[in-house]
């Protein structure tokens, strides 16, 4: 099967546009042949990244987020998030300790661990004033 053409959207960094981004990611993941659970898992990863950008990139000011889905390199589905906000590498955050009791468990901080778990590769770059976060998911032939 020939790879899908890329799909992309540029939206304001605002939660009102989350659904638009997630619909694109889920549709693309399904069309690329990911199994149903992996496709939704990738949607979860995309939500975590987008919400992180909304919350941190522009310090409450206005700005945009570009989201690009591609079926490359061969055998991979790639989702890239680009914003022009302040330098922010979410991969540097330390995940919370997973205690087994509710009382001591830290609230929050599970977004990036989910991204790491649901993508096969995650990469951050700062280039030309952009934060670029790339997720890649292997597509089983």
């Amino acid at each position: 099967m020939a790879p899908l053409p890329p799909d992309q959207v540029t939206v304001p960094a605002d939660l009102g546009h989350l659904a638009r981004v997630l619909t694109m990611v889920l549709d693309y993941a399904r069309a690329a042949g990911l199994d149903p659970v992996s496709a939704v898992a990738l949607e979860v990863a995309a939500e975590e990244v987008f919400v992180n950008i909304v919350n941190y990139a522009y310090d409450g000011g206005a700005g945009e987020v570009e989201v690009i889905c591609r079926q490359e390199p061969p055998g991979f589905l790639e989702i890239q998030f680009r914003d022009r906000g302040r330098r922010f590498n979410p991969l540097q955050k330390t995940p919370p300790a997973t205690t087994t009791d509710v009382e001591h468990r830290q609230v929050g901080g599970m977004g990036i661990p989910l991204v790491r778990a649901f993508a096969d590769q995650v990469e951050y770059q700062r280039r030309d004033g952009y934060n670029i976060l790339t997720l890649r998911k292997r597509i089983e032939p």
């Binding site: 989350l18 659970v37 898992a41 939500e47 975590e48 087994t100 468990r105 609230v107 599970m110 989910l114």
Partner: protein
């Protein structure tokens, strides 16, 4: 997201349907706050109709569990689908919560 609740003896059975995500979590928090004010021995959350959860939803569930932990009320979850189960596993929530297969098992667990 749709939330409905049913009183069964001294327990509340709360059914969550749809997406517990960044958009839905605040609504979930508001709804749950109402039920948590009712006198009850415990809460069974039936998640069999919950298609999707993200870290925002995990946060809401943990905050609810912490609050109930302080009052000594029980909290049991049931009916996790494959995705929700995976999210729980990655987050360590499988060992944090009491999780049952379905509503029947959940009620038995709380009896």
């Amino acid at each position: 997201m749709d939330i409905s609740a049913q009183q069964q003896g001294k327990l509340w059975v709360i059914t969550i349907q749809g997406r517990l995500d960044t958009i839905g979590a605040p609504e979930f928090d508001r709804e749950m706050a109402q039920y948590l004010e009712q006198p009850a021995e415990g809460y069974l959350l039936d998640l069999s109709g919950m298609e999707y959860i993200s870290s925002a939803g995990l946060r809401s569930l943990l905050v609810m569990a912490k609050r109930l932990g302080n009052t000594g009320q029980k909290l049991v979850l049931c009916g996790l689908n494959d995705l929700v189960n995976e999210v729980f596993e990655i987050s360590g929530f499988k060992t944090l919560f009491t999780i049952c297969q379905d509503r029947e098992q959940g009620l038995a667990q709380m009896a």
